[in-house]
Homo-oligomer: 345 residues x 4
């Protein structure tokens, strides 16, 4: 931590800042420059509240952190990339993993037909929402446990592991009994109790980025899960809020190489939520793979014009079939392959 | 709802759009202009998923909603401003209500001394966090029930109602036994289960705006609470995420007159979180009152340089004492007064 | 400037960083902490490109500036607030100055009738655009010199100084012959040649904040003008771009106390562009004054429903008449007064 | 255009809205629904100011445009993609075009050595700034005409066409005498006079997206150039301003497929400015090609740690050499190739 003194500070103010730092059991390192005086804070641990506390001391201009807020997800702490298996699918390895399926589980038929088609085209994991967060209380909120059972049935038939969202700590036990990966959605990215409970469950967790969450905060959120002893975390970029309205969100692919540099955790991309427009999904899926994503999560629906949620961002099965060979080609161009072959179930 | 057809659409595409709308039990109203063809969707209720579903139909350029997503919080539904009492304090009336207190309850002494000073200066309600959401798992997370007891003690001594944050549905019963107002924080603004449970509790709820939540979405979040039969909701603006880094958030005072126009709910402002800088709190408190806020929520701490959280945005008691007469003056200038007199406890 | 070394840097990398700094004629101050090694850069002047150059040196994690980028507009350089006279109106003094008038000068009658009404209600300065920047080339672009003549006529009749926008260096001489204050609009906030030419003109300059310009960059833009020997700069907040769509821009009143702290320059607020909605202008005008603004710039039009530009954000004369006594009341509440009396011309 | 009436409007208000529309020579199409009344505006041309004017009429809730603001850049107006030649390089064709070179022209040696290396690796066009826009007046502003001469020398030697930025209408004639493509930078994206003058010059123009410019506004800016009879416009995405600070800007690759859908103009991507970090440039270059970009603009410098501007976002020649074969591979994967072979000059 670095304290920058105001121009024109007094000696007494300087001494009080140093005393406050020493009171916290730390040492100081003073650097008096031509135009600026800086106090380096030396020692560990630095109490997290110290930065904010020092901001109110007279004579202080500003206080900067120079160490990262998160530890367990950092590359420095764990240089090798994290890999883990979900049934027989490896997440974070050389092979790109495609997750596909409907936004919501609406019926057995809708889910099974999508699952078969997704599997045939080369998806490795099936997605589908049984508990849905909705902006308005009058929208479809999912089938609940009935939806989980349908997902399990689709897994039994196709062999694909499943991922589904958990909305609250209440549902964790129930959802964990069915799912292979717990999905924590954008709105819950900083729901810290849910993160800790998901950490305790031991089930692999996909942590989606919140709509206004900086990358450093996202990694700090992952720390909540990992601090409970659960190392199997995978991150998923899904778009941030900006002034642009041509897309529903601004799908921030820059996050992919940034995460690769800062963290050892696998990073996926969700172009369906990222853009909110079905016609942008193919181009942005390819871009995500080229940027280095370890996988994709794509919404596919047999009849998007009759979907109970997010039809406008779902691919038809036909469009998903067209996309997968392109995904293979781009993965190949960056030295990777797609985990699953395209073989009819 | 309005469907705008692509330039060059075919008659067959148009017919399929109309059929999809009629299938939902609605009628259409066609308007063929020189450059654009528009289909108005007539009838109620319009299924919430229809907008997204129509976006994937061939020939459709875009689909616009023309009705609001929320109903219970709207001015049109309830033209008169909502007023309610919290013990003997009226929220949403002509008088401006000042809520003050520490970010976190740290000890009985810290809380009681702040409460006494706040009361003496003219605050009506005491704030203090017992359960704290923190970006990193290594930061201070509050005293829990011990903190709630301290708040209750401060209420008993000063007579001030109390407000404290509830983080999860698990804690709702516990927190409701102590608090007069449940605070739902920015990170939980779209935690829909928590909203519904808070609605069921019957306790008045302060709903803070999420960091990337549009005003329309904020009112839809309020609908979750109100749809459970709880009309006593007060909104609180606390800053949004933008590119500006001179302030911690961009405290969006425009939300105050916008909410007044769209909704009958009382609207408060929290300049402490809104700006994140103690030295901006006085000016922005006055601005909020001038903009029409029904109240303020201000962080006050006896020793901000030793606070366990958010010291950098807390006023000292001395600065709070200086601010309150200015708040009174500005409230007077806009035809209001401050609910509580400045009288020593 | 502070260089933060990567964890695990080598001694050789450290030496190369130090060598690069010394090559620029500067000294270094090394601080080796438990977890982080930091190099302070000591000496002046630090070449502006050094920060970016050091970011590419092996072993460097990041480089932080600790001194401000701007000098002439800073409080530290010039502690007393800047005041200057425009004809007999003092900008930056104790009195709040109200600038009012139409978005565009459309005709002599429209401008003169607005000017008379604005003067009568207590505005001190008349605004009106003769050269208009427009998003589409097919929109009204102003009357040009004819518009300037109409403004001069209005000044002759009412005695009010005038302010009008200059769009390009080409028009500077022409506009300067007529106007009392040159307005540089949001889109030109970082049009550096225009800033320098405005600086050379010697005419007082209002510099509006760009839609995505951070406060530090805004002050750096002011430096371009001041570095040409023109100290008479006044800043004007007019809204930034964010995700919120209920307002046309997010009018950032936080900028007012931030500028007061960082700079000695006067700061105005333009609630008409800031919000883009006529019905938000009154509340946000009062809020701006309460936040400490030195003045307001408000769009007023005799017939907003027939305006050639920005009718939707213009007050009618009637609404402006209602607003001015409220502005006086709030100004009084914060210890200021409005420069001009409300007296019929 | 669509006018949405307020709930509870009066018949008289409705009639006044209709009268205002008819006064503009247009017809109306009334749709009275269960919950909402909508007036469609029929006829052409709709005066651009009408939307804003109607917003102030009593009884109006809001006014929505349903036609696009721009015409010449739209796909609907010109369905085939625009292609044009710059010397012997085709822009907008099947082949991906790579523009490379230093941020600023600093010396003949620096520019020539970069040009040779760029050419050898397979770049088709040389970039280099002779006139530089800088946030602070104390930064390096370019060599001016001397820089243009160096670029021309590099073109003579390597055969590569050149692109360089024009900052003001004053410099247009001078810059046009040397350059093959005029670059209009992000800060000038809405400098409408410069756009028109560039349009008149007849020289091909690269229009970079402004930091807070929506895609629709960007296309409207292109209209300014094209309306002067210059069809040879190429767009370049270079990052927008958001709350994320891990990158200098948020490089918005979504703009690439959005532009492809809305417009026939070629679209390039500049990952150097887009991300501001040299280590993110390779991944985001590949992502841009996968997203469908027609070309890249990449900053390359022989000694980025001694660059006079933007060293931190420049690739070394070695890193550029490593990147180009990857660009070829990804271009191949999406059915394209890179315009120039990698052959030593």
């Amino acid at each position: 931590m670095i304290v920058i003194m105001k121009i024109g500070y007094t000696q007494e103010e300087l001494e009080r800042v140093i005393a406050r730092i020493e009171e916290a059991g730390l040492r100081t390192h003073l650097s008096v420059g031509e135009s600026t005086t800086i106090i380096g804070v030396v020692g560990v641990p630095i109490p997290p509240e110290l930065q904010s506390d020092l901001e109110v001391v007279d004579g202080v201009d500003s206080v900067l952190r120079v160490t990262k807020r998160y530890k367990l997800p950092s590359r420095e702490f764990h240089p090798e990339p994290t890999k883990f298996k979900v049934r027989d699918v490896t997440i974070g390895g050389d092979e790109v993993v495609v997750i596909a399926g409907p936004c919501s589980v609406e019926s057995a038929e809708q889910t099974l037909s999508t699952a078969r088609a997704a599997r045939a085209a080369g998806a490795s994991i099936l997605r589908g929402g049984a508990f849905k967060p909705r902006t308005s209380p009058y929208e479809f909120r999912g089938l609940g446990e009935e939806g989980l059972k349908i997902l399990a049935e689709a897994r039994a038939e196709t062999g694909m592991p499943i991922i589904t969202e958990v909305l609250t700590p209440y549902d964790l036990d129930l959802v964990s009994r069915y799912t292979d990966i717990l999905q924590i959605g954008a709105r819950n990215c900083q729901n810290f109790l849910l993160l800790e409970e998901a950490g305790k469950s031991g089930v692999p967790v996909m942590l989606k980025r919140g709509m206004s969450v900086q990358i450093e905060e996202w990694l700090s959120a992952a720390e909540y899960i990992m601090a409970q002893g659960n190392p199997n975390v995978l991150l998923c970029e899904r778009g941030i809020r900006t002034f642009e309205t041509a897309t529903r969100n601004t799908f921030d692919l820059n996050a992919i190489p940034v995460i690769k540099r800062l963290s050892h955790l696998p990073i996926f991309a969700d172009p369906s939520h990222g853009t909110g427009k079905w016609y942008l999904v193919p181009a942005m899926s390819l871009a995500a793979i080229a940027a280095g994503a370890d996988g994709l999560m794509i919404e596919v629906h047999p009849n998007p014009d009759h979907a109970k949620s997010d039809g406008g961002q779902s691919l038809t099965i036909e469009n998903f079939n067209k996309l997968m060979p392109q995904v293979r080609a781009v993965a190949g161009a960056v030295g990777r392959s797609v985990a699953a072959e395209a073989v009819p179930v």
